[in-house]
């Protein structure tokens, strides 16, 4: 049986004292998926990754890799990872670092091949302490792939890279993942999730708040929030707005309506045409938090 999914998190909870870092995460990632874990700092992305890899013990729920204990997958070399705070020794060269980790694995790639695949051959003989931020991330990537893993977990792999470095990194990533590898990467760049993932899982405050294709996520984030007040009673006008295809969410509170929409121009025209009593109109670009909210509450949301 090889059908077990690379990652299955069930009711996962992690508490640190009074802080609940991961608050009931259910998530299954299938073979060959490239999944972006998107969310602000402190959303629980890194803690979820630690739990999935067996580096931390859950306070509740279970984390499984390939249908078994995370440690078994690690021992078998089926999972490679670039972690936050998992750094290389500064006095060691890139090639030595990769060779050390390769020696710890049972069936590693030849060191030269791992260096080549990660695109670090040019600076393989340099000491880790002398690398630029982007080079360091690529060196860590070489270490992550040396066991030739089926599942790659990358926690903010492009942190400290400039735009050009980021582009180059994802280009070499795509070459690697062309062969049906499963990849999960954490990021707080929406563009990165959009460009490189075929599924986006959004986390906030330790929970999965949205799970869909990048197109779905982007549509919501690209939208705007329209708000206005009415002098006369709402009188079913909120339902009229909800029926519009471009409207994702309508929140009616007292005399004030807030509308999440992908076409604020059209909605605004309709509002002004039909309700002469509309005033105090605001149109604002959506923040990431609004996007999360819209995604979780919109009835049209397609969750997997």
């Amino acid at each position: 049986m090889t059908a077990a999914p690379p990652i299955r998190l069930t009711g996962l909870v992690k508490r640190f004292g009074p802080l609940t870092a991961v608050d009931g995460v259910d998530l299954t990632i299938e073979r060959g998926e490239v999944v972006a874990l998107l969310g602000p700092n402190g959303a629980g992305k890194s803690t979820s990754i630690d739990l999935a890899l067996g580096l931390a013990r859950p306070s509740g729920g279970t984390a499984e890799l390939f249908g078994g204990a995370p440690r078994d997958a690690v021992v078998a070399g089926r999972v490679g990872a670039m972690l936050q705070g998992g750094a290389l020794l500064p006095t060691t060269t890139v090639a030595e670092s990769v060779a050390l980790v390769a020696a710890a694995h049972r069936h590693p790639l030849p060191v030269a091949e791992a260096l080549e695949r990660a695109g670090v051959t040019a600076f393989a003989k340099q000491k880790v302490g002398r690398l630029s931020g982007g080079q360091l991330q690529r060196a860590r990537f070489a270490v992550a792939i040396v066991s030739d893993p089926e599942l790659l977990i990358l926690d903010e792999p492009t942190a400290a890279m400039d735009v050009e470095g980021r582009r180059a990194f994802w280009a070499s990533m795509r070459e690697l993942t062309g062969t049906g590898r499963t990849v999960v990467f954490a990021t707080h760049y929406l563009e990165e999730a959009d460009a490189s993932a075929d599924r986006v899982v959004m986390m906030r405050r330790g929970r999965v708040v949205a799970d869909g294709t990048p197109a779905e996520v982007k549509a919501v984030v690209a939208g705007r929030t329209l708000a206005f007040a009415l002098r006369r009673p709402v009188d079913g006008f909120d339902d009229r707005l909800r029926a519009l295809p471009a409207v994702q969410l309508v929140d009616a509170r007292a005399d004030r309506l807030r509308i999440a929409t992908t076409d604020s121009d059209a909605v605004l025209r309709l509002v002004l045409a039909e309700r002469a009593d509309a005033h105090d109109v605001e149109v604002a670009a959506r923040t990431m938090d609004d996007a999360f909210l819209a995604l979780t509450t919109a009835p049209a949301e397609e969750s997997r």
């Binding site: 580096l55 998992g86 750094a87 020794l89 006095t91 030595e96 060779a99 980790v101």
Partner: protein, 247 residues
């Protein structure tokens, strides 16, 4: 066990020259200073019936070898602080193999440190001793550092990063001075010789001296060093199991 990893780790440490200054350079410098001061004109320590210069060589060889063991504490604390351990935890390597690799690294570096001290002593200070006696002295010092590597591992396991440095300094100064590795005990106050007998560093030195003197009266040093080894290994294993259960 994973011999390939263990050897690579030892080789890596040996190439990291900067961190080895205290293991190689300081003992040799002290040998040149003290060896000339006490060992001039082939003076003999009548208590041990060894030339002073040979005694100083054994002391400094022991000191360098001890540093090779103790400095593993730095390696471990550093690697933990940097997060290299987290990277290694994503491999099949077990924590015990990781610790074993530190002991092997300590032994390899100690072998180099002892050899360097003896060579300097013979070439620069013209210390006179038969090859077999030099070998016996070096082998005694070399095997005797196992408890020091274990002390280092214990510091690495217990000390929070910012406390590791002072703890290391206290341990290292205490073992060096009280064990008589820097200054011969015979010229220190009598009460210090009593303290010294509880120190593994004293017995490390003694093992080297007996080797140099060609004596087989090694039961006491071996018993004391073995006792330290057993107690330290038990503490390390206990702590390791507790950490593993918590993870």
């Amino acid at each position: 066990m994973n011999p390939r990893y263990v050897l690579l780790e030892a080789g890596r440490q040996l190439r990291n020259v900067r961190s080895l200054v205290f293991t190689f350079v300081v003992p040799i410098a002290m040998l040149l200073i003290f060896g000339t001061a006490y060992g001039a004109n082939g003076a003999i320590d009548h208590a041990l019936r060894l030339p002073w210069v040979v005694e100083t060589t054994v002391q400094m060889g022991g000191y360098g070898a001890m540093m090779a063991g103790l400095s593993q504490a730095f390696a471990i604390v550093n690697e933990r602080a940097i997060g290299w351990n987290r990277q290694l935890r994503l491999t099949p390597l077990t924590g015990l193999v990781y610790l074993a690799s530190k002991i092997v690294a300590a032994l390899l570096i100690a072998a180099v440190a002892i050899t360097a001290v003896v060579l300097v002593s013979v070439l620069a200070l013209h210390a006179h001793l038969g090859a077999a006696a030099w070998f016996a002295a070096g082998a005694g010092l070399w095997i005797g550092i196992v408890p020091f590597a274990l002390i280092a591992i214990l510091i690495g396991q217990f000390a929070p990063p910012d406390f590791a440095q002072p703890l290391f300094m206290v341990t290292f100064l205490g073992l060096s001075i009280l064990g008589g590795l820097w200054v011969p005990l015979s010229i220190l106050p009598a009460w210090m010789s009593d303290v010294a007998r509880a120190m593994p560093s004293y017995w490390l030195n003694r093992l080297g001296q007996l080797g140099a003197a060609g004596s087989w009266d090694v039961l006491a040093p071996i018993a004391v060093l073995a006792a330290w080894t057993v107690v330290l290994a038990a503490l390390i294993t206990w702590r390791y199991r507790r950490d593993a259960a918590r993870a």
